[in-house]
């Protein structure tokens, strides 16, 4: 019980998020997703589950997609993190964001940041995936609204162009 009531050790955690040096003092047990959301106020990264199942929390760490609810912020000190807020540049949507818009790849938009992050990372590994490869690549990302058809279409449209 003692450990439960213990308010953790506060640690300073620095990392680069969306190209900017960031720092916050947080409890050592703080998940990356809550570090980003509650402490850096980057609330685009969402939480959809508590079992690492849904992918709503997907971000890039060093260019790789990671479910940010599965890592402690302290584990990725000094890392280079990109969240959905870092995808659009100079007021222009990232091509993957634009594809989701063009193909109606989102409805409520809750899964969308995670989908976009997972999809861009998928394409960085396989620039021209087949439909089956896209579906397999996004298996860890759940969407309750779209039935996935237009999400897959969005990703394929970017793949086909690249």
């Amino acid at each position: 019980m003692d450990q439960l009531t213990h308010r953790g050790i506060f640690v300073q955690i620095d990392m680069t998020v969306n190209g900017r040096a960031c720092s916050a003092d947080v409890e050592d047990r703080t998940l990356l997703v809550h570090y980003l959301r509650d402490h850096l106020e980057l609330t685009g990264t969402n939480v959809g589950c508590d079992t690492s199942s849904c992918g709503a929390c997907t971000v890039h760490i060093g260019g790789q997609s990671v479910k940010s609810c599965t890592v402690l912020a302290a584990q990725v000190r000094g890392a280079d993190v990109t969240t959905i807020e870092g995808m659009a540049t100079d007021g222009e949507l990232h091509p993957m964001q634009e594809a989701f818009r063009q193909c109606h790849g989102l409805q409520c938009g809750y899964c969308t940041p995670g989908m976009v992050m997972a999809a861009t990372s998928l394409l960085s590994e396989n620039a021209n995936p087949t439909e089956a490869e896209v579906r397999e690549g996004l298996e860890g990302n759940l969407c309750r609204c779209t039935g996935y058809q237009n999400i897959v279409k969005s990703v394929l449209s970017v793949g086909g162009q690249s």
């Binding site: 009531t5 079992t51 409805q107 409520c108 996004l138 759940l142 996935y148």
Partner: protein, 789 residues
């Protein structure tokens, strides 16, 4: 009409795509306290004692309250609301936000902690010690029906109500007496977890002085919430502002008035600090209502040709532990649809609602109608087998109006269907799916004895939506009306504000409403701004559920636009010194017929109306109009869905390999959005058919509350769907529109299970319960093959 009917990209998307959309958990208030929920681990128990000492001493804890303490504090003036007491004598023991002496489902609240951090609240809640005396548990409908054990010590029978729709019981008896064929279908609508991707959450912010309270909640129903908060908490309604921020999916699960919502508002009001909470995914199985939960029996009497003579239906419906906002009414919403798209001379429906010790049930995408459509469409396949004709043929023989176009047709279930044209819709779907080739391929695989057999199933559904004519709701004893409100405001500089009482959570209302207004007023859709989901901005409304937004809310907007044009015409005529009747309005411009140079744009009129320097005598300044539209009738979208499944006889695995849907929701404002609604809806119905079930053990524990074992489909499980439509305008509103939000779910579960049964039919299998898991299919095949699989 130039913009309506075309696919148009959504206004909502840039925000949502860049992470700028603000969902409930993204919004914070200075000094906020997190609620940590103490929930019962028992499905039914007496609370003996609660010790909060340790929790109260935990770091960051502000206070801890037990149910009994809250009750004494007098935070509420009434129990949680049930707006739909379906019968005069419905049993509904009072249900307060936190249990004081008896818990009735796992997850029932027993105490609440207020703490200054997200993690701290959860930790502190774990420190509350509760002694329970376990009571016997009712963990299924079957157990509830026997009344061997009561789900609530305050009741003497688990049966809460009996409701009947029996226009002519003798005619039904006569139909069965005269029948050449009768079929009986007994189906289980398993409990489902709605699982909107965004968990629910709340944030109540009290004003430092004056008693005002601003309540953010991830809800589909901010307007209904405001009324219910006032009625339940005793806080004056005009002190309450409810805001639904960006809402990450609802599917019915966010149309309730939940214990956490009442708690947040009353505690914040009491202590003068903001109070918040966000459910975790696993907690949602207990803190948010579930869907379905019915045992259905449907009987069809038919003549020698398979022409239906009568239908009789009985439901035993699982209310769960408590009557939530619409719980008892959900089965009734389906009652009128058990006759489907068919000409049924005699019909009778009865439903008993039972309390159990499980999470309360309430609306889930389709609410009563997917259940109805499943029962009649499964039973039609049974009838086809019985009569010895194909599933398409049995449907053709029974379509209302002989499968031809009709308007305003009264059915045996006493409703008047607005419009339909079922025959061509079916034929279009059969052609699009290439039904004949599919059947040939099925035959080939059967003859070749392949291990992967093909099954093709169809569902010709009709649904009832556009809720609702207020008088019809009165007839069902529903506690509110079914109208919707809209206001159109021209701003002085020529842009338009639309105030709508419907509340989107992914449906793209801002886009669709802008399209309607753009067409009606001849303005650019980008010049239209839609205000919604905040009771301070849009004070009147009845929100979004039951596929009502377009048919009721969209109609109100179109009608308000017409009123704006009417007023603008008078001003234009005044300024152009013409007779109003001599003006034409086209593309946003008023012109004197025959005098093309005499013209004035509607934006110019808006400015004139604002300055009010030169208006017709007696006219009020400003160009704004409002309409509250109360429809005369429901709308009845319909369609044909055809599912193709592959059943692996070795493993029992079912793979959905093809899906074709031809839906008719009348004219479509934005076909892109309609298709998106269909895709998502179809997959939710497929998921019920094949994967999803909230399963409970005998002690009343939900065995699969998290996404680890509650199988929401991933992109891997579903194929691309082929969609098309027919267009049969409704007679219930001037736009002729119907609804599209639930149709996919209403059509798909039956189509998929019909397909699975079709695949297994060579083995004499005629039914399989949902979800048709590999294990179930494998066992059925093993048994059908005489024990060797």
């Amino acid at each position: 009409m130039t913009i309506m009917g075309t696919p148009r990209l959504r206004k909502e998307d840039p925000k949502l795509l860049t992470g700028e959309g603000k969902f409930i958990d993204d919004i914070h208030a200075h000094g906020e306290l997190w609620m940590g929920m103490v929930r019962s681990p028992h499905a039914h128990a007496k609370i003996q004692s609660i010790d909060t000492t340790e929790a109260a001493a935990a770091p960051g804890v502000h206070s801890v309250y037990t149910g009994a303490e809250l009750q004494e504090m007098g935070l509420w003036v009434a129990p949680l609301p049930c707006a739909w007491p379906v019968t005069e004598d419905m049993v509904n023991p009072p249900h307060y936000p936190v249990a004081a002496d008896e818990v009735r489902h796992v997850g029932d609240l027993v105490a609440v902690v207020l703490c200054d951090s997200r993690y701290g609240a959860v930790d502190a809640a774990e420190l509350v010690e509760v002694d329970y005396e376990p009571l016997p548990v009712v963990a299924s409908i079957d157990a509830a029906v026997t009344d061997a054990v009561m789900a609530n010590t305050d009741i003497s029978s688990n049966k809460a109500y009996s409701w009947a729709l029996e226009p002519d019981p003798e005619a039904v008896d006569a139909a069965f007496a005269a029948a050449d064929h009768t079929v009986v279908g007994e189906f289980v609508q398993q409990r489902l977890i709605p699982a909107a991707m965004e968990p629910r959450g709340v944030l109540a912010i009290p004003a430092p002085f004056g008693g005002d309270i601003t309540f953010y909640t991830s809800t589909q129903v901010p307007h209904i919430m405001k009324v219910m908060l006032a009625a339940t908490t005793g806080i004056a309604e005009n002190k309450i502002r409810v805001i639904a921020p960006a809402v990450g999916g609802g599917f019915g699960a966010k149309l309730n008035v939940n214990p956490d919502e009442i708690l947040a508002v009353t505690l914040a009001n009491k202590i003068g600090l903001p109070v918040r909470w966000t459910e975790t995914r696993s907690e949602a199985a207990f803190s948010t209502h579930q869907g379905r939960g019915q045992n259905q029996k449907i009987e069809i009497a038919a003549d020698a040709n398979g022409k239906i003579l009568g239908i009789r239906v009985h439901l035993d419906a699982d209310m769960g532990a408590y009557m939530m906002l619409l719980t008892p009414g959900v089965p009734l919403l389906g009652s009128f649809l058990y006759t489907g798209v068919y000409d049924v001379p005699a019909f009778g429906f009865t439903c008993d609602g039972y309390f159990t010790n499980m999470t309360p049930t309430d609306a889930y995408r389709g609410a009563g109608r997917p259940e109805a459509s499943y029962a009649i469409e499964r039973a039609m396949d049974l009838l086809a087998l019985e009569v010895g004709v194909g599933p398409d043929e049995i449907r053709r023989r029974n379509f209302l109006a002989g499968g031809e176009a009709f308007e305003n047709l009264e059915t045996a279930s006493t409703l008047v269907f607005d419009s339909g044209n079922y025959g061509p819709n079916l034929e279009k779907a059969l052609k699009l799916a290439d039904y004949a080739s599919l059947k040939a391929e099925q035959q080939r695989r059967r003859e070749a004895g392949e291990s992967k057999q093909l099954g093709i199933g169809m569902c010709t559904y009709v649904e009832i939506c556009g809720l609702a004519p207020s008088r019809a709701l009165a007839g069902l004893n529903y506690g509110a009306g079914g109208w919707e409100h809209a206001m159109i405001r021209f701003l002085p500089t020529g842009t338009v504000e639309v105030v709508s009482g419907s509340t989107p959570h992914g449906q793209g209302h801002e886009t669709s409403w802008s399209m309607i207004v753009a067409d009606k007023l001849g303005v650019d859709p980008d010049d239209v701004h839609v205000l919604h989901s905040d009771t301070a901005h849009s004070p009147l409304g009845l929100d979004t559920y039951g596929s009502r937004s377009l048919a009721v809310g969209g109609t109100a907007i179109a009608m308000a636009c017409d009123k704006v044009v009417d007023k603008a015409r008078l001003i234009a005529a005044h300024q152009l010194e013409a007779n109003p009747d001599d003006l034409e309005f086209d593309g946003g411009m008023f012109r004197v017929k025959g005098t093309p140079t005499a013209e004035i744009p509607i934006q110019g009129i808006a400015y004139e109306a604002f300055t009010a320097h030169n208006l017709p005598d007696g006219m009020e300044p400003n160009l704004q109009e409002q309409v509250t539209f109360d429809p005369e009738n429901f709308v009845f979208p319909f369609g044909t869905h055809i599912a193709v499944v592959e059943v692996d006889e070795d493993t029992g695995g079912v793979t959905l390999v093809g899906y074709t849907a031809v839906d008719d929701c009348g004219p479509q404002v934005n076909p892109m959005i309609v298709q998106g609604q269909m895709h998502g809806g179809i997959v939710q119905g497929v998921a019920q058919a094949l994967w999803e079930e909230a399963s409970y053990d005998e002690a009343g524990n939900c065995k699969n509350p998290s996404f680890l074992d509650y199988l929401v489909p991933s992109p891997m499980e579903v194929p691309n769907m082929v969609l098309d439509s027919t267009v049969t305008p409704s007679t219930s509103n001037p736009l002729g529109v119907k609804g599209a939000g639930e149709a996919g779910t209403i059509g798909s579960a039956a189509a998929v299970i019909n397909a699975v049964c079709d695949a297994l039919s060579p083995y004499g299998v005629t039914d399989i319960s949902m979800p048709a898991t590999p294990q179930k299919v494998w066992r059925i095949l093993r048994d059908a093959k005489g024990g060797e699989a």
